[in-house]
């Protein structure tokens, strides 16, 4: 690989900076911004997802959307740092995949755990300041959702709650990334209705499927350090069954929402087409270490539904 020597050189010359970069998980930050854009796009499509349609052409819309994106980034970085810090033991034991929960940055650089602990505290403080600044420019319900994301995200990894170690991690992660994050995008520019929450349920369920797949290769390392994820607790058969239930649930909810005209046809079609990739995910789940099929399904769904919502909002 061409990038590998550059990466190694950067890691050796500036280990702290490289660790901060790698532990922030840039690819996941990009996905977070995409899901945020999904929420903003939902708001552009107008009722019944939101009370009043967002005026996409206005300066206030653009400023709010930008402020919302800037506010959520440090929150996401703080959550990732906390997760990296909490996953040091797992990272040391597992044979990593590109989608393992930790970046393995500390393991690779030999830096102490204390470095990431301090980074977590620092970025959390920055996030707090960001939330305060956001409160001056964004609607209060958006600030509330952002605070909920920060608290639940930290609680996902860190003691005393450490939800991931109690078998609740998958649920919290799916709700955080699949529900709260797009809803945050909606609330930044408009007032959501209950239908906005329902409209992202298929995405929540697909995030759940994705978590089964990405946790699977880490299950032995997770079990060794006492991290009781669902794939550690359940048999492969049970995991596959749960994955199928979530996938079929996503199809049923999407079909229902479409039939009830709660989501536009473009969104319904984009979602159902993306969900078909879950069949590939299901056939490989627990049979191969690589979780790529499920990751592809989630990312394609995020991209396709974001494009569809924006197209409905900006289109005829």
């Amino acid at each position: 690989m061409i990038g590998e020597p550059i990466r190694v050189r950067l890691r050796e010359r500036t280990p702290r900076l490289w660790t901060l970069w790698a532990a922030s998980r840039p690819s996941q930050l990009a996905l977070i911004l995409l899901v945020y854009a999904l929420g903003v796009g939902m708001a552009t499509a107008g009722p019944p997802v939101v009370v009043d349609g967002a005026d996409v052409g206005s300066t206030s819309f653009r400023l709010s959307a930008l402020a919302g994106a800037l506010a959520v980034l440090p929150v996401a970085v703080a959550i990732h740092y906390a997760n990296e810090y909490a996953d040091i033991e797992t990272d040391a034991l597992t044979e990593r995949t590109p989608f393992s929960s930790g970046s393995g940055a500390l393991e690779a650089t030999g830096l102490s755990a204390g470095f990431l602990r301090r980074a977590t505290v620092g970025v959390t403080v920055v996030s707090g300041c960001g939330v305060v600044l956001a409160a001056a420019t964004l609607p209060l319900d958006a600030v509330g959702v952002l605070v909920a994301i920060l608290l639940a995200g930290l609680g996902y990894s860190l003691p005393p709650v450490a939800l991931i170690r109690r078998g609740l991690g998958e649920f919290v992660n799916a709700v955080l990334g699949g529900l709260l994050l797009p809803l945050y995008g909606v609330t930044v520019v408009a007032t959501p209705t209950g239908i906005a929450g329902l409209a992202v349920v298929p995405f929540v369920l697909v995030v759940g499927c994705n978590l089964f797949a990405t946790h699977w290769p880490d299950r032995e390392a997770d079990a060794a350090v006492g991290k009781r994820t669902l794939v550690v607790r359940w048999s492969p058969r049970g995991i596959r069954r749960a994955y199928a239930v979530l996938g079929l649930g996503a199809v049923a909810v999407t079909t229902g929402l479409w039939a009830a005209a709660a989501v536009p046809t473009a969104v319904g079609v984009a979602t159902l087409a993306s969900l078909s990739i879950l069949v590939w995910g299901w056939t490989t789940l627990t049979r191969q270490r690589d979780p790529s099929p499920s990751v592809v399904a989630m990312v394609v769904l995020a991209v396709a539904s974001t494009v569809a919502w924006w197209w409905v909002g900006l289109g005829p």
Binding site: P47, A261, T265, V312, G315, P316
Partner: protein, 243 residues
């Protein structure tokens, strides 16, 4: 000359659905009760709609009048629906030959020959309009300057007759383009209404769109400017009839 508002059948012979569509639009314009023409259209047999299927002029005039009348009736009956555009265009708004049709069914299922509203004019429409295939028309880009859904940016509503459909469509198109197109010769740039982007495939792509603009004297012969598209004003503005 007969009054189109009353030309919906006298009860002794089979009413003419094409005349009923024209009469419906006239009654909507005059804010008179549209019950009779609505019933004529709903009860029309496929046999009585033969000219609508077989003759392009009849088809265009019929469906443009039906669409514009149905949109105004829907705006009057359920104005709140317009706040959610995808619902407004999707709900059944009128019955023709027993088929409940939405505005999307008429525009994209029939007038645009079953093309998706989301595909820039290049993708087929997934759902059918509930009418036989024979009703579908080849897309005529001028319909985008004749259909009025009740938004502020929509063109004014005109009445369309089979005999004069091409002239009237040309006039509607020219009027709309004259009001909305800005050609900047210095920058070699032209600003266009948003519908030209949404349905660019109906115009034959970007080059076809430029030819269309030349034909309607919006840009000089031989000019090939870059294209910019204005935003669409979706503010509700019903009853925009041409005077």
């Amino acid at each position: 000359m007969s009054d189109p508002a009353s030309d919906v059948g006298d009860g002794t012979s089979a009413p003419d659905p094409v005349a009923a569509a024209r009469g419906l639009l006239e009654r909507v314009r005059r804010q008179e009760l549209p019950t009779d023409p609505l019933r004529t259209l709903a009860d029309a047999s496929h046999g009585s709609l033969e000219s609508v299927r077989e003759d392009r002029h009849h088809g265009l005039a019929f469906w443009l009048n039906v669409y514009n009348a149905a949109a105004q009736l829907l705006l009057e009956a359920r104005p709140e629906l317009f706040d959610s555009r995808w619902r407004f265009f999707r709900v059944p708004s009128i019955t023709v030959a027993g088929a409940e049709l939405s505005l999307d069914d008429i525009e994209h299922g029939v007038l645009r020959g079953r093309r998706s509203k989301y595909g820039l004019g290049y993708l087929p429409r997934l759902s059918t309009a509930g009418l036989p295939k024979a009703y579908r028309l080849e897309p005529d880009p001028r319909i985008h300057f004749a259909l009025n859904c009740g938004a502020a940016s929509c063109p004014a509503v005109l009445a369309y007759e089979p005999d004069t459909i091409d002239e009237t469509l040309d006039r509607a198109t020219k009027n709309y383009l004259d009001r909305t197109v800005t050609y900047d010769a210095e920058r070699n740039r032209v600003q266009l209404p948003r519908v030209c982007l949404w349905f660019v495939g109906d115009f034959g792509g970007r080059s076809g769109l430029r030819s269309f603009l030349r034909a309607f004297e919006q840009i000089p012969p031989g000019a090939s400017p870059s294209l910019r598209f204005r935003s669409y004003d979706w503010t509700r503005a019903s009853r925009k009839f041409a005077t």
